[in-house]
Symmetry: C2
Subunit: 363 residues, 2 copies
DNA sequence: ATTAGCACTCGGAATGTGAGAGTGCCAGCA
DNA sequence: TGCTGGCACTCTCACATTCCGAGTGCTAAT
């Protein structure tokens, strides 16, 4: 069932105005802002039909109309005009993205922060989980009681761990172990690292001190970590600025839901190939988000992985502006992280590389 | 100027009761709960004197009294009875702490989460910044276009970075660079890594392709990162459950202040050797926290570093319970991370070790 | 010094009132 | 048939008013 062009115009006007003001909008207001050549009375008729069709709601008899979730959906699908970013906005984004990208996780949370600041909503970033394999082992001999495990994973992630031993070990022993692990533990999935394999290696290495187990345990840990993916949320408190979250309980529900990265990982549901996805209120699987909307854009995180960056806000969200901004940021991230083009120059290399992390020793 | 024992008792009663109920407490209530053998009229007199002394305030003429920041301070210093934790509580803490401590930063944020859940307030964890030096360089040759920088810092932190090159390089060249860096860049403070040193090294290595700069730049980055320390906040939204933060604006101010790790790093002010520190409302340096209180406990993070774990809440905080819990958690962390005892066994080693991180490559 | 009694104050809940915005409907008009 | 102006009706919100009770401060008595 199609609805007339005039209805569409009116619906769009209601949504736009409501997004702007957060107040129910009445027939008169619409007559004033949208110049369709007809009076408020006509619009009243149209409004009541739109209400009957389920696109609009009225909080009470003598208030204006507000869009229903259905109305928002229709707006997002058909009415919304793709917004262009201003020069300054694109400038800001480019600058901020290029600024400092030393670490991947830092980059993710920075990009999230950026999205949050630009849109005024809490932002979230997700990196898709993916099973990885070990690609290469290095064991760096530091001294008789200390060595470092450096593990290069299939997704070009490097993990490391400093190991202190309560006994001495020789460099030759370490080297032998590295060779055995490179032979036996590379390019196999996590579940194939079995106790059988480990004890076989242990025997081959004539390792009586449990070094093999240490390295194997760390390998498993590193693999399972890289399988988990990562999630960040920033700017949770900006929700509180939205009138629809003035109720602290409501805000609390949403924010604490967002604080659990378990929840976040499940948020996107199954992937689609839309570049920008909009989930409106009740469309959310999670109970807690049933009166919030989520807008997410996906980006190419390199090494065949995709990541998501998005924001959470009230139903009355400026979908058009938010979508445009997220899209732009996601494109920027894809450009920075994505595969395809060869690294162009020095700066680029530095940008891409890295990560790292700490190891706390005992002494 | 000393105050009478009875005044102390009354003050303690007011604070305890107000902490419990969040309602101004009147003379009658005190007469009922604290059994000093006197009537409400007497207590009224005492109350008005305590008010004159600045320990109490009244929101308005015909309301009960609430503690002033001064009153809280006096309470914390002299009246508060050190609370014991219940068996279950210590159990929970022990369990949760021992559970999984794979990564240092994960451990920090987990401990924060634990503190937050136990106390019901937003929790923060800080690791003290400390200048570090490079202790050892390793450059792992992967293929003609790829190598890994592994950097062992003075505080036994390991950092790494995967570097992709748009040109080829030989293994010998990489080894030569590693030797040069180990000779010239180890055990010197960050600021001595000057362009002069770098270009000297570059010449010595006959490096015409900028490899030296890449490694030096990464070294500087790693050092400055480890100098920055780290800060986490979790459970921000639990502030919203407190009646004094029902005003979304107020809550928003505090939460967004806490979201900035720059702010957090400066929060503790100069260190004291108290094991638990309490900062009450106006004692906070930060404007934004002037009507919140902060309780922090410090722990031994190993390698001569100290960390802080704390919570933020309203003035009306259960200082006694919160302090006890934080203290216990901090002790647990010290036990797990701290220096002193040698690693006892296998599990212990695994616990202490580690960290790691990711590197995103291009292909 | 302590207490009981009492007048007084003040904030908050409850209630009442009015204004305004917006609707729905109807009758007239193109 | 579709649009418009007019009008009565409804409902909420803001504001004013009232009322109640908790709690104080004071005073006089013990």
């Amino acid at each position: 069932m199609d609805i007339s062009p005039r209805k569409k115009k009116i619906l769009a006007a209601v949504v736009d105005e409501y997004i702007r003001t957060a107040e129910p909008v009445g027939s008169k207001t619409i007559a004033a802002i949208a110049d369709l050549g007809c009076s408020s009375a006509t619009i009243r008729n149209e409004l009541s039909e739109l209400t009957a069709l389920g696109y609009l709601e009225q909080p009470h008899t003598s208030a204006g109309r507000i869009p229903s979730p259905h109305g928002y959906r229709f707006y997002v699908n058909e009415l919304m005009e793709r917004q262009k970013l201003s020069i300054e906005e694109t400038e800001t984004i480019n600058q901020r993205l290029n600024q400092k990208m030393e670490q991947l996780d830092r980059l993710m949370s920075d990009a999230g922060r950026l999205a949050g600041q630009l849109t005024g909503y809490p932002a979230l970033t997700l990196s898709a989980p993916r099973a990885a394999t070990a690609k290469r082992f290095d064991l760096l001999y530091i001294d008789a009681n200390t060595f470092i495990i450096v593990l290069l994973l299939g997704n070009n992630t490097v993990k490391n761990k400093l190991v202190h031993l309560p006994f001495s070990v020789e460099q030759g022993q370490i080297q032998k172990l590295a060779a055995l692990f490179n032979a036996g533990f590379t390019n196999i999935p996590e579940e194939e690292i079995t106790p059988v394999l480990i004890s076989a290696t242990e025997r081959a290495a004539r390792d009586t001190m449990g070094l093999t187990s240490i390295i194997a345990a760390y390998t498993i840990e590193a693999l399972s970590q890289s399988r988990e993916g990562a999630a960040f949320v920033t700017g949770e408190s900006s929700l509180l600025r939205q009138p629809e979250f003035r109720d602290p309980d409501k805000a609390h529900r949403v924010i604490s839901y967002l604080s659990d990265s378990q929840h976040l990982m499940g948020l996107p549901g199954k992937a689609t190939d839309d570049s920008v996805r909009v989930i409106i209120g009740p469309e959310n699987v999670a109970e807690e988000l049933r009166d919030s909307s989520v807008v997410m854009a996906s980006y190419d995180a390199g090494a065949g992985q995709r990541g998501l960056i998005g924001v959470v806000g009230p139903l009355r969200m400026d979908y058009s502006a938010v979508a445009a901004k997220l899209q732009y940021i996601a494109d920027g991230l894809s450009r920075l992280l994505g595969a395809g083009e060869a690294p162009a120059g020095f700066g680029k290399m530095i940008l891409k590389g890295d990560i790292s992390d700490d190891e706390h020793g005992t002494d």
